[in-house]
Amino acid sequence: MQLLLANLVRRYGRWLIILPPLLFLVLFFLVPFTFAFKISFADTALAVPPYTAVWNLTADHHLSVRLSLANYRYLLTDEVYAFSYLYSLRTAFFSTLICLLLGYPMAYAMARSSKSTQAILMLIIILPFWTSFLLRVYALEGIIRENGLLNSVLLWLGLIHHPLQIMRTNLAVYLGIIYSYLPFMVLPLFATLEKLDHTLLEAAADLGSSPWRAFFDVTLPLSMPGVIAGSMLVFIPAIGEFVIPSLLGGPDNLMIGRVLWDEFFTNRDWPVASAVAVAFLVFLVGPIALYQHYSTAQPES
């Protein structure tokens, strides 16, 4: 009997480890998407919850299915949505580029410093990551608002004569994303640059390469895994960003995260919001996930 029990545990015991996380994540992460998919075919209704049923069991036990493609048609005809997809892509792309241009020299300087300085610099870069994201966005507002530090300093220096209007513009959204996600760019870059073999650079120099030439021929190609990992870590959350455009951007800012939020909370149009979410998933998250799956360049952090 005891042997039987031991055998059972040996054969099926692993499922005690596999099943709890698997079932939890299936139920609360995967199943929700099927609901969003279903509701994207419903119509809006003045009810709780505010949408019509997609399928109904009628009194005589017939299943009636009502699929409405109106929401998807709406997404295609109202150009706000196409525009906001493109706008989000553009904003995320340029923010990532600027993060890279600023983060690369930072990571390079860190990698070239002594080991003990590196430990302190790491701490300095990681610290903002642990502090509240929301509060950091709020802190940035204190710098760029009309009577904030930046304008005060520029006025005092005499560089400008009227305070610059940065808050509630697209520029503020760019600044917000760069400020918030810069550590995500620096850390993976630092991780690859630190491991770089310096003898290769010396070899390049011995063979007559100029420092810039050596950088573009040796350092940059070897640090590509870090460049890709850092860019992904900035680009992905930046596309769906809600807090930054909502707090720093103007009322006409059309980042997709914000459009979704308004569709859901202000217009209470859950079916259209679901359709936007499904489209978002297919056009933006899907390709990224596939890319990550098939790229071997991605290092384990």
Partner: protein, 281 residues
């Protein structure tokens, strides 16, 4: 490298660090400002901190957020490390691909999508089962779902690098597989469990978007309260609250960093000692 490049690199580094820190330092400075006007310095005062202590709404929200954070990160550590053990130790099983996808998905999924879809699930579930009520329960579930992924990533890399020979030795000496794991591997991955818990706790405490969707009436977390206050305009008591949070986190991260360096140094010393004991001379 030419002579000028290091200076150039260093100045970019300093500029970047300044960009990261100046806004937070200015915020902390203004939290001690006696004046309510944001652009006028009215002298040093602890007024806003006192105000904070009497703000029931913020205190309630902070308490709720802490409770959710403790619950959610504890569950996330359990589920996340089970998933990590499954992925590292069991090479082939049905559902392996699904589990891999599900622990990676929250890392690339925009929060707003996760939030909307989970709300739709909770609404449908409530219609069907009259459970769960939107509030504490749904907040904890939603937080566990995205925190577990981060725990898995943290624990998995530690588990992959953990030496299995100790565990095998324990099993050779007659310990069962579970006992062997608990006695040898668990202490090795304990730091990863701790950092996974802390990471989950911070993520949970900071989450605004997902919480806004899955929360119900009467259950406002701290970020939700802060967001609505900030959205309405600048409020000096948020400065005080923010300074407290930044100071706590700063102290915690610096302490953890110091501790990590000390244990690393100790491990290096131990390794040197061991190698000296093993070498014949």
């Amino acid at each position: 490298m030419n002579e000028r490049a290091p200076t150039l690199l260093l100045s970019v580094l300093c500029f970047g660090i300044a960009v990261l820190y100046v806004p937070m330092l200015v915020l902390i400075a203004y939290s001690f400002n006696a004046s309510e006007m944001v652009n006028v310095w009215g002298g040093f005062s602890l007024h806003w901190y006192r105000e904070l202590l009497h703000n029931e709404q913020i205190l309630d929200a902070a308490l709720l957020s802490l409770e959710i954070g403790v619950f959610a990160s504890t569950c996330a550590v359990i589920l996340g490390s089970l998933a990590a053990v499954a992925l590292v130790r069991f090479r082939r099983f049905r559902g392996r691909f699904l589990l891999t996808a599900l622990v990676n998905a929250p890392l690339v999924m925009p929060e707003i999508i996760t939030g909307i879809t989970q709300l739709l699930l909770f609404v449908a579930m409530f219609q069907l089962l009259s459970w769960p009520h939107r509030g504490f329960t749904t907040l904890v579930i939603a937080h566990v779902a995205f925190c577990a992924a981060y725990v898995t990533v943290t624990v998995r890399s530690r588990l992959q690098s953990a030496d299995r020979s100790l565990e095998e030795a324990a099993m050779d000496l007659g310990a069962g597989p579970v006992r062997a794991f608990l006695d040898t591997t668990l202490p090795i991955i304990a730091p990863a469990l701790l950092s996974g818990w802390l990471l989950s706790f911070t993520l949970s405490l900071d989450d605004l978007v997902i919480s806004s969707f899955v929360s119900g009436p009467g259950a406002s977390t701290l970020p939700m309260v802060i967001y609505s206050k900030v959205k309405l305009g600048l409020s000096p008591d948020v400065n005080a609250l923010a300074s407290l949070i930044i100071a706590t986190v700063g102290a915690g991260v610096i302490a953890a960093g110091g501790l990590m360096r000390r244990t690393e140094r100790q491990q290096q010393l131990d390794a040197q000692l061991v190698s000296r004991l093993h070498s014949p001379d």
